[in-house]
């Protein structure tokens, strides 16, 4: 665990220059007008959401006519693997979001590492998370490209890059559970990615998109603290090893509009032949 924490700290230290750059170059940005926690956290793929599921929310706290920027570092420490992510996003008008994420996936037991870069865009189509009966609905895309195609190709992947498309619907229901506000999110994703893209895209046999369902539910215990669950269905296309759906239970602390910390316990199932991968997820995010 010490090693895990140290490597998380190291990961965060690596992300600090990003954050400083954002802080320095965006002094024109006032604090966003949106209510605290409504920006959600940032997923391992860089889009605003929970930990593994992109939500319909736009990153940061910018409202209409306002800009927002975020930077984050995340570590996921399961039995035989470690996923480290750094990412940043820029949002405008509580409508557009542009994000980048860099993933490094350490094969702790097998040796070696995989990695991919992800560029995401998100556009709010309709609805306001807090205010309208219609849930907030966004369309998103994530372009992903692996660093080194050798291993993904060896296990049967067709391409070293791919695009995920998704539509997400999110809504906060006020005073829904024991006086607490409840956030529900449902996402439908079209993807060719094997293990989110770390093992490439498509297979030798098929180049078709698969549709998967993802969902999250969170209770805002206080204005700043959210307890929730997430489920992410995954395709299972590569013949060499089974791929399972992912799930997690998370606690997110939105300290203020500039800093949030998320911890989660994640169950990632079988990865590359290593079954029952479970472990802790830690993420820290700064926003302007």
């Amino acid at each position: 665990m010490n090693i895990a924490i140290n490597s998380f700290v190291l990961n965060y230290v690596k992300a600090l220059p990003w954050l400083c750059l954002l802080l320095g170059s965006t002094t024109a940005l006032a604090e966003g007008s949106r209510v605290v926690a409504t920006g959600g956290a940032t997923t391992i793929e860089g889009s605003a959401g929970g930990g593994i599921v992109p939500w319909a929310v736009i990153n940061g706290y910018g409202s209409s006519g306002e800009w927002s920027a975020t930077a984050m570092a995340t570590g996921v420490y399961v039995d035989d693997f470690t996923l480290k992510v750094i990412g940043a996003s820029l949002s405008f008008d509580n409508r557009f979001e542009l994000s980048v994420a860099r993933q490094t996936f350490d094969l702790d037991t097998m040796g070696g590492e995989l990695g991919q870069d992800i560029v995401g865009v998100k556009y709010k189509v309709v609805g306001e998370l807090l205010y309208t009966a219609m849930p907030q609905i966004t369309l998103g895309a994530q372009y992903k490209k692996v660093d080194d195609f050798t291993l993904p190709q060896a296990v049967g992947a067709r391409d070293d890059s791919g695009i995920d498309w998704y539509v997400a619907a999110s809504k906060i229901f006020f005073d829904a559970l024991a006086g607490r506000n409840l956030l529900l999110n449902g996402t439908v994703r079209a993807t060719k990615a094997n293990q989110t893209g770390l093992l490439g895209f498509g297979t030798q046999a098929s180049n078709d998109y698969r549709f998967v369902l993802e969902a999250s539910a969170a209770v805002l215990l206080t204005d700043n603290l959210a307890l929730g669950i997430e489920y992410r269905q995954k395709p299972n296309e590569l013949g060499f090893a089974r791929e399972d759906d992912w799930q997690d239970v998370f606690l997110a602390w939105f300290i203020n509009k500039h800093l949030s910390v998320v911890t989660a316990y994640s169950k990632l199932g079988s990865i590359a032949g290593f079954d029952d991968q479970q472990g802790w997820y830690v993420s820290i995010e700064g926003s302007l």
Binding site: S63, T132, M134, K171, A215
Partner: protein
């Protein structure tokens, strides 16, 4: 299929179906069982303190204060207290115009609305209004977004 998965899908269904539900559903402010919200806000004294805190915050917020340049603040305060009382199910009569009419031509943006919500929450917290009471009031005010913004 795990139970969690089924639960999550049920939640997703609820969420998606809520968007297709009848959008004319509005909170019913004058039902008898809702008087407790007004009481929970501290009746006239409590609501007045919340509104005073809200006005104080608006007066120093350069993002939105210009919307009130031509406003008679004393009258606005009175109408606001009445309106919150009425919305919270208190025994008050609201003498003002509808939300849509009072905001006509003001071009209130989402950012303006968000800023006001933020100030209202901060003012309620200052008055030590419990979370559940705050959320119950916000639940009744939130649907007014469409009547207030972009007119």
């Amino acid at each position: 299929m795990s139970r969690l998965w089924i639960t999550m899908m049920a939640l997703t269904f609820v969420l998606l179906s809520s968007g297709c539900a009848d959008k004319s559903v509005q909170p019913a402010p004058l039902q008898a069982d809702t008087t407790s919200l007004y009481q929970a806000l501290g009746n006239d004294v409590g609501v007045s303190a919340i509104i005073d805190g809200l006005l104080k915050r608006i007066s120093t917020d350069t993002r939105i204060v210009h919307h009130f340049d031509a406003t008679d603040i004393a009258l606005f305060r009175e109408r606001l207290i009445e309106h919150i009382c009425w919305v919270a199910g208190g025994d008050c009569e609201y003498h003002g115009e509808s939300m849509e009419k009072t905001h006509q031509g003001l071009n209130i943006t989402q950012a303006d609305f968000d800023a006001l919500v933020g100030h209202l929450i901060a003012s309620m917290k200052e008055q030590h209004i419990p979370l559940a009471t705050r959320n119950a009031l916000l639940k009744r005010l939130a649907p007014m977004y469409s009547d207030i913004t972009y007119h």
